[in-house]
Each structure stands twice: as structure tokens, then as C-alpha cells.
């Protein structure tokens, strides 16, 4: 049994989702090889080859892979597919974009967003926004799988075989023209991997008021999240969205402020270790899953929380 993991990176850094996916692959047993496609990725390829459980890295260095165009990546995976029993990628917008193309061309049903592995053909995945868990058994000989990164640990960045092989592949003319990418720049921890997340909802009432959230996030070295209602209302951009159609986060501490707790939002955060809810509506469903609930007007509670955190910090100093 041999497994191929498709690496996610931005040509400069390896995304942590790649480390989670290698970890998931290691639970299947068998040789793990990693495919890295990108531009100027010598260093990244070498780095991945040193990761725990990785027996080999295969890479292609070409401008055509700079922007992770699914139509360009798919034929490379297909050309290599024959020798592998399992092909895995993270269930991020990168993996979601590419893997169904690979599955359909191999005529297999993709298994999306797995959160656990029972055996080499049986997996657990959430359905209905995580309101049910499906144990699914694939009848296809080859398994094409996307992995929910937050459900698997990261592998150690050492212990790999250190073997790197460069290959060539002519993908021909690209059907998709990349124009540009607008990435949200932030000095804060990345939302999907942060230890603490502070999220705001419709209760914040304006983009301006989100400063109250960022103030708390700064003091806790936390990432900022948002409900879809807050995103739709234009308070913050969509890459902050936590939920069924946004990001799934599993931090040690999730603080939900002014978020009522729609099913679609809970799907993205209910696995968090500790959940705090601050809401002025004591009937808000978010309180049903919160470890600590506070019924309060957030416009009073957040400044008070800020002051309390300052006190705590000054005691520690």
C-alpha cells in the first residue's frame, strides 16, 4: 500500500494543513510520498522530505504551478495515480478545488472532509453541518480523500527519509488565467490553527465596533473570527468566517461575542476545547454549548474584559 499526499503551500512556506494531512495518511499505514507542485519550491520540497513518515517527495518546479490552478495540478496527479492506493489532500479551498477533478477522472467517489480513519477503506466524516457523523466505506479500489486538517495532529518536522525527486510534466496551455490574489495580512495567529479565537457576530452592529474584538484578540494573542451574519453584514471579510461554509476551528479557547449560535456557525467551532459565549439574549442557543456563558451587553462586557485582562497581565509581570 502506497499513499500520495498533495502538499499545500504558498511557494514560500508549507501550510500546516500539509502536516495534518501527512499525519492522517500515517494512520492508514504504508509508504507516504508527497507531491509538491509550485514555483521555486526547492527549499519547500527539501523541508517536506524531512517530515516524519515521509518516504519521498516528488516535485515539479514550474511557473505553471505558481498559483495552484486546479486544471494544471489534476493531470500531474493522474499521471502518478496508478501506483497509489490512496490519494490525500487537505480539505481546504486548495484541496477542495483539485481533488474532485482527480476522483472523477479516476471514476471513483471522493470521500470529503474526513475527521477519523477506521481502516484503509472506512472513514468518518461530518454531514449536515456536523449534526451527524457518517461512517462511510469506499467500494472503489483507489481512494481519493480530503482531510479536515483540524481533526488530525501535525507531524514532527523531522524523521523523514530526506529523499527528493524532481520530475517533468508538460501540462500544455492553461485554460485559466490567474489575475490576482488579495490576501488578508495580519500579525495575528492564523485563524485555522490559533490556540485562542475571539469571534464576533451580528451583535457587534458595525465594522467599526469590531475594534472591540480585535482589542481582546491582541491581549490574548488570539485570531479573530466571525459568524456568517457578521460577514454578510460587511463587518469583516469572508476569510474570517467560521462555520459550515467558512473555516472549521478547534482552538483551546473560543470566545463567541454577539453570536446567537446558528447551526451553521456551530459546525465550525463546536469542537473547541473551551467555549465562552457573551450575549445579551439569555435564550441564545450558543449558551447550550458554552462552557462559560455570560448574559451581558457586549458593549459593556468587552471593555470590562479588556480591563480584567490588563489586570491579569500586570499581576503576571
Amino acid at each position: 500500500m502506497s499513499i500520495l499526499v498533495i502538499a499545500e503551500h504558498n511557494n514560500i512556506e508549507v501550510k500546516s494543513s500539509t502536516l495534518n494531512t501527512i499525519s492522517a495518511a500515517s494512520k492508514l499505514g504504508g509508504e507516504i510520498e508527497v507531491l509538491v507542485l509550485g514555483s521555486n519550491i526547492d527549499n519547500i520540497s527539501k523541508e517536506i522530505s524531512s517530515y516524519q513518515h515521509v518516504s519521498k517527495v516528488i516535485f515539479i518546479d514550474s511557473e505553471k504551478f505558481e498559483n495552484a490552478i486546479a486544471e494544471n495540478i489534476e493531470p500531474v496527479i493522474l499521471s502518478l495515480a496508478e501506483k497509489y492506493s490512496h490519494i490525500l489532500a487537505p480539505a481546504t479551498t486548495f484541496g477542495k478545488n483539485v481533488m474532485p477533478r482527480v476522483a472523477v477522472k479516476l471514476d471513483v467517489a471522493q470521500i470529503s472532509d474526513i475527521v477519523n480513519i477506521e481502516s484503509e477503506d472506512t472513514f468518518i466524516r461530518p454531514i449536515y453541518a456536523g449534526n451527524a457523523l457518517a461512517t462511510v466505506k469506499s467500494k472503489d479500489t483507489k481512494k481519493v480523500i480530503t482531510v479536515r486538517p483540524t481533526s488530525f495532529d501535525v507531524v514532527a518536522k523531522e524523521g523523514g527519509a530526506g529523499i527528493v525527486e524532481q520530475i517533468n510534466f508538460d501540462i500544455g496551455e492553461s485554460k485559466v488565467e490567474f489575475i490576482d490574489r488579495e490576501e488578508s495580512k495580519s500579525d495575528r495567529p492564523e485563524l485555522s490553527t490559533a490556540r485562542i479565537v475571539v469571534s464576533g457576530g451580528r451583535g457587534l452592529q458595525s465594522a467599526e465596533n469590531f475594534k472591540l474584538i480585535s482589542d481582546i484578540a491582541d491581549k490574548l494573542n488570539a485570531a479573530i473570527g466571525a459568524s456568517r451574519a457578521a460577514v454578510d453584514a460587511g463587518y469583516v471579510s469572508n476569510d474570517y468566517q467560521v462555520g459550515q461554509t467558512g473555516k472549521v476551528v478547534v482552538p483551546d479557547l473560543y470566545i463567541a461575542v454577539g453570536i446567537s449560535g446558528a447551526i451553521q456557525h456551530l459546525a465550525g467551532m463546536k469542537e473547541s476545547k473551551i467555549i465562552v459565549a457573551i450575549n445579551k439574549d439569555e435564550e441564545a442557543p450558543i449558551f447550550n454549548i458554552a462552557d462559560y456563558g455570560l448574559t451581558a451587553d457586549l458593549f459593556e462586557a468587552l471593555p470590562a474584559l479588556s480591563t480584567e485582562l490588563d489586570k491579569l497581565n500586570s499581576i503576571e509581570k
Binding site: 472523477v104 470529503s112 474584559l305
Partner: protein, 249 residues
């Protein structure tokens, strides 16, 4: 240009889904069913493209049991022109769906296919990508903005890092994000008009597509439930609990 829009009939997004005690699935009896939410965005976008004079006809395709006609009627009431129902068991996997869509494309020859990015029942997020690969058309997934100029589509995509823009030639397949637009409500006169719009019904077998599942659902179970926690009196107590009880700050 024709636009083909796919719509799926799913349990309404406001319904609290219940897992059946025997683990065979979720409760669907007497449960409100609706159009999959991002599919509504796909229908709305098609209407806007047509209203801008860039398309002549909007065809709604649904796959599943007889009752999917209701979902098609909803789209027709919003303003789409006609429907196609491909009858099959109600849980056709994305792999088979993409094959059926490709068959319909052979006869209908649309210039654009709009789909929801994900169905809120099985949360697969696969069908548009698979359809694109089968047809050899470019894909524009997770679209939050679609601009059509002549033969070219410029699409803004919602990605984990932020936003990305790509340019693709018609024909292409787009999967629609909830942020793409605000779907309209059907007016009463339009609901009445929609009753007279044609829906063509065929079966998956007639199209020669094998819809037998490749994935066996061994068991559907409840996710672990969280215990309801405690209510704190004020912010000071909250911080004390987080610091000394939960030890997370």
C-alpha cells in the same frame, strides 16, 4: 447563450437535523425540505446575467425523486424558464450527478453552468469540480462575483487566504458561494406563472448513467454532545474561571 443551473432538494437549513435511532440515516419524514441555499444564489446569478442581456434562457436541472419538481418550481417562480428532472434515488453521489449533468449538457449545450458550491446535507463540495473535469471546461469555484464580458468570465473566488480573481473562457462551470448575491423571493404572480412552465422528466437509466453508490453508509451517528456549562455573573468571574479553572489564558 443558455445557462444551466443545478438545484438540490435538501432538508431546510433551519431544521435541527435528527439522527435516526437505528443509525440508518437522518429523519426525513415530515421535515421541511427546501432548495439548497447556495443553489439559490446560482439561480439568482443566472437571472441577473439574463436580465443584463447576456443570456437568453435559464434551464433548471434537479436530480432525485419526483418531489424535486417542487424545488425546480421554486427556481421557475424566481424567473427561470424551464426545468429538467432526472429521476433517481434521492441520494445520488456527486460522481453520478456530474455524469448526469454532462449528459444533459450534450443535448442542451449551455454556455455556462452555475451550481451551489456545496450541498448542506452531505457537505461534499465536489459536483462542480467533477463536472468541469468531465466536460473539459474551466472551473471557477467558490465564486463571490461573476462578470461576463463577451466570451470571457472574470470570477472572484473566496479562498482560505482571502480573495482570488481568475479569467476563463465560455463555456465554463462556476460554483456559487453564499456571498455571490442576495436571492430574490418569488412574487405571487410569478409563482402562478411558474406552474405553467415546462418540466421535462427523464430517468438516469434513460441517460445511460449508472447511479449505484460507490460509498456505503455503514452508520450514521450523533456527534458527541457538549455538556451545557455554567453561567457566570460578570466579566471578573469569567476571567477567574478561564485562568484558574479552565487554565486556558
Amino acid at each position: 447563450m443558455k445557462i444551466l443551473v443545478t438545484v438540490k432538494r435538501v432538508i431546510d437549513y433551519n431544521v435541527q437535523v435528527r439522527v435516526k435511532a437505528d443509525g440508518s440515516g437522518v429523519e426525513k419524514e415530515n421535515v421541511k425540505m427546501s432548495m439548497n441555499p447556495p443553489d439559490e444564489n446560482a439561480v439568482e446569478e443566472a437571472l441577473r446575467i439574463k436580465e443584463a442581456g447576456k443570456a437568453d434562457e435559464i434551464i433548471i436541472l434537479s436530480i432525485g425523486e419526483e418531489k424535486c419538481q417542487e424545488t425546480i418550481r421554486t427556481a421557475l417562480a424566481m424567473g427561470a424558464d424551464r426545468g429538467i428532472l432526472i429521476k433517481a434515488s434521492d441520494d445520488v453521489e456527486p460522481l453520478a450527478v456530474s455524469k448526469i449533468v454532462s449528459k444533459v449538457v450534450e443535448t442542451e449545450q449551455p454556455g455556462l453552468i452555475l451550481m451551489g458550491k456545496q450541498a448542506i446535507d452531505d457537505d461534499s463540495n465536489q459536483t462542480a469540480q467533477m463536472t468541469s473535469a468531465l466536460l473539459g471546461w474551466p472551473q471557477a469555484t467558490f465564486a463571490s462575483k461573476i462578470e461576463i464580458e463577451g466570451n470571457i468570465g472574470t470570477v472572484t473566488r473566496e479562498i482560505d487566504e482571502g480573495l482570488e480573481r481568475i479569467k476563463v473562457n465560455i463555456p465554463f462551470v462556476a460554483s456559487c458561494d453564499l456571498r455571490l448575491n442576495e436571492p430574490r423571493y418569488a412574487s405571487l404572480p410569478n409563482i402562478m406563472k411558474a406552474k405553467k412552465k415546462p418540466i421535462d422528466i427523464k430517468s438516469a437509466e434513460e441517460l445511460g448513467v449508472d447511479v449505484s453508490p460507490r460509498i456505503e453508509h455503514v452508520k450514521i451517528s450523533e456527534p458527541p454532545t457538549r455538556q451545557k456549562g455554567v453561567m457566570v455573573a460578570d466579566v471578573a468571574e469569567l476571567v477567574q474561571k478561564l485562568k484558574y479553572e479552565a487554565k486556558v489564558i
